[in-house]
């Protein structure tokens, strides 16, 4: 008994000595999963800018599973009444936490700096809850890219990245015949889902994509267009190499660099890998928008949790303002491979792929063909995304017929609505 209560009281006393000492210019504890390479460097930029303004930055990185481990920690922290100041959290996930009343808004900063005018409307809507900004976006990633190795393509007499899936299949068949792996792919559910949504966009266009994967319309989910999407997915399964299962995406990107494979379907974080390896766009690798003539949007953001105390509240305001400053948006995105979330930042320092991305973004906003990514948690709740990913990844890794796959998809989505 003695020992036990001793432990309790000793522990209770010692918690007072946690790293939450007060500083005049704000403290933030940031939970994120950017722990390596360009991403860690990008967070480092944020940290040093924040500290340059006199603030204190407490870093809480938790890598793994695209943030799954970090989400586990986040839930435990919120339940314990000890949430981080800011969390790398995105898409409808922001709304889920906002509904629980777990978030603080930074609308004062947003109003003063007029965020509405500089963010794409689709993105701004995701950052807001009940009309108030509760999160700040750091970047825009484009998901629907095809990356290619021009040298490998040249071996079968191809110089351009195909612009529709039939062409793609024709080139891939040629590559197969020449003994080259046409598609570098990593068999992880989110990568399967990435390929799936890019194919759906190419087969059905932006409207179909929106009906099926954003509005979850049963008619669209069970349509012939979806059957065709699954048919194409089945074809792509035939174009990957044997060791794809469980491979990390950056290893797939390395296969393109080393000439072991011709294409990769992946968002523009892949570009960061190419650039880090000293490859030049247009020469060592090609970037081309995937078929569909649209823009699949992915964006990372920091969400502000309900913390108390002058110090941390101040920290949230400072951090929000800092994230949205043009200077930070430029340095961060140069490090990360994405483009600024603000549409008004000059792209002089960015490479040709990024410039192309920005042009297409502007065009897509005008043509209403900017769609949020399902695979990257921008379009639907994590629940629905999980169910869709289960179906897609199961289809991709089995001999299921396209008709059965579509059936499974429609009923999985129905089940969770």
């Amino acid at each position: 008994m003695n020992k036990f209560s001793l432990l309790m009281s000793a522990a209770a006393i010692s918690t007072i000595v946690l790293p939450t000492a007060t500083f005049a210019d704000g403290t933030v504890e940031v939970l994120h999963w950017w722990t390596s390479g360009g991403e860690a460097k990008a967070v480092g930029e944020l940290k040093s800018s924040f500290e340059a303004q006199g603030g204190t930055w407490i870093d809480s990185p938790i890598a793994g599973g695209g943030g799954d481990a970090a989400m586990t920690a986040l839930r435990a922290r919120v339940v314990a009444g000890n949430p981080p100041t800011a969390v790398q959290l995105k898409g409808p996930g922001i709304q889920e936490w906002a509904i629980e009343g777990s978030l603080n808004d930074v609308d004062d900063v947003a109003k003063a700096e007029n965020w509405d005018a500089v963010l794409p409307p689709v993105l701004a809507a995701i950052m807001k809850y009940e009309g108030k900004y509760v999160a700040a976006p750091v970047n825009i990633h484009r998901v629907d890219w095809i990356w290619a190795n021009p040298e490998v393509l040249a071996k079968v007499g191809v110089t351009e990245v195909p612009t529709n899936w039939d062409e793609f299949n024709a080139v891939a068949d040629k590559l197969l015949a020449a003994g080259i792996t046409p598609l570098a792919h990593g068999g992880q559910p989110w990568q399967d889902a990435t390929v799936f949504e890019v194919v759906a966009l190419g087969i059905g266009g932006a409207d179909f994509y929106r009906d099926a994967l954003v509005n979850l319309d049963q008619a669209a989910l069970a349509s012939d267009t979806m059957v065709k999407t699954f048919d194409q997915l089945r074809k792509l399964r035939g174009y990957v190499d044997q060791g794809f299962s469980g491979r990390d995406w950056n290893l797939a990107t390395a296969m393109i660099m080393n000439g072991q494979a011709a294409f990769q379907i992946m968002g523009d974080w892949a570009k960061g890998e190419f650039l880090a390896a000293g490859k030049a766009p247009g020469k060592d690798f090609l970037c081309a928008p995937a078929p569909g003539g649209a823009f699949v949007l992915n964006s990372d953001s920091f969400t502000f949790f309900k913390v108390e105390g002058e110090d941390q509240l101040k920290g949230q305001q400072v951090l929000a303002s800092l994230i949205m400053s043009p200077g930070f948006q430029e340095t961060f995105n140069l490090a990360k491979g994405s483009i600024p979330a603000r549409t008004d930042v000059a792209l002089d320092k960015f490479d040709s792929c990024a410039v192309k991305s920005h042009e297409d973004l502007t065009a897509a906003i005008a043509a209403n063909s900017l769609v949020p990514s399902m695979a990257h948690e921008m379009a639907v709740s994590r629940t629905v995304r999980g169910e869709i990913m289960d179906v897609v990844t199961n289809f991709f890794n089995s001999n299921m017929s396209s008709a059965d796959g579509v059936q499974a998809l429609a009923s999985a989505v129905k089940r969770v609505q």
Binding site: M1, F4, S5, G65, D68, M71, T72, R75, V78, V79, G93, E96, W97, I99, E100, S102, G187, Q188, P189, D192, D241, Q242, G243, F244, S245, G246, S381, R382, T383, R385, G386, D390, T393, N394, F395, F396, N397, S398, A408, R415, V416
Partner: protein, 300 residues
């Protein structure tokens, strides 16, 4: 004793009578709260519509219906049975075999035993990557053996949805069979040598001596090993996550990973709680008879 000492004596008597209970009760209370109250909480949550955070609105059996209508749950259950069966069988066979072999007055026994035991010391967070490489067809054993000139050699279980669960078994047996070996070795060492000598005088060969005399004598070791292995199998989480991440597809999903995915990746605490309750029921089905025999065994 003087009169002044009487209260002290009374206190001592009181302490003598109650001290064991006083010592045990806070620990027991802790287990009531941190095990049973938490289980009760989980059961309650499984009847609510909890999503991203706990929510106390009751929805009846909806979460259970949801679990049982999810194809992935059936895969997880099937994997649990396949894995548990093979894992226990594999660990027991290898563990018993190695214990008997090591019991033969082997030189280097200490070193060999340490080699067999060390996987237990490492978590799959540590060894997972190495296993992934070894089993990966384009990096590991398959490539190596093909490199030796056996072009037709194929070992691609890790990427084959039908076979991937068996790679999980291989790695699981690797980790735990040494522990079973240690348990049995300890059991064998505690068998009285007189009995062995008597058997030898009767002319029983080594195989018969072990099969009919020694192993039956250490029957309790079988029981505790199987219980320990069964609970490792049901709780196996790190293993699956580190080795296959549940893939290819969700071919190697298990109830523990299913529950984790729903609770923390998908923000469906209610559904996760329902699957957790079913896991707990499985654990109880195994544990209650064991605990019952444990109590009866020591009460005699």
């Amino acid at each position: 004793m003087t009169n002044a000492g009487t209260p002290r004596v009374a206190l001592e008597r009181f302490l003598d009578r109650w001290l064991p209970q006083i010592v045990v009760s806070p620990l027991f209370a802790a287990s009531l709260v941190f095990v049973y109250a938490f289980i009760a909480w989980t059961i309650y949550i499984s009847f609510t519509k909890s999503g991203v955070m706990p929510n106390y609105t009751l929805v009846g059996l909806a979460q259970y219906e949801r679990v049982w209508s999810t194809p992935r749950w059936y895969v997880a259950l099937q994997n649990l049975f396949v894995f548990t069966g093979l894992f226990i069988a594999g660990c027991m066979i290898i563990g018993v075999l190695l214990a008997i072999l090591l019991d033969q007055r082997i030189r280097l026994e200490g070193a060999i035993r340490t080699i067999y035991l060390y996987p237990m010391a490492l978590s799959f967070i540590v060894t997972g990557t190495a296993w992934k490489w070894i089993l990966n067809p384009t990096l590991g054993i398959e490539k190596l053996v093909q490199g030796w000139g056996f072009r037709d050699f194929s070992f691609d279980w890790l990427v084959d949805p039908q076979m991937a669960i068996y790679t999980v078994v291989i790695a699981g047996v690797w980790q735990s069979s040494g522990y079973v070996m240690a348990l049995f070795l300890a059991g064998l060492r505690s068998v009285d040598d007189e009995i062995i000598r008597a058997a030898a005088i009767d002319g029983a060969g080594p195989v018969r001596t072990y099969a009919t005399i020694i192993l039956p004598m250490i029957r309790p070791v079988f029981l505790s090993s199987i219980i320990i292995l069964a609970h490792l199998a049901i709780k196996s989480f790190d293993l699956v996550v580190a080795l296959t991440g549940g893939g290819p597809g969700y071919a190697t999903d298990m109830p523990a990973t299913f529950m984790y995915a729903f609770a923390f990746q998908r923000s469906e605490l209610g559904t996760a709680a329902a699957s957790a309750v079913m896991m707990l029921m499985t654990v109880m089905a195994i544990m209650v008879p064991y605990l019952y025999s444990e109590i009866r065994g020591s009460a005699k």
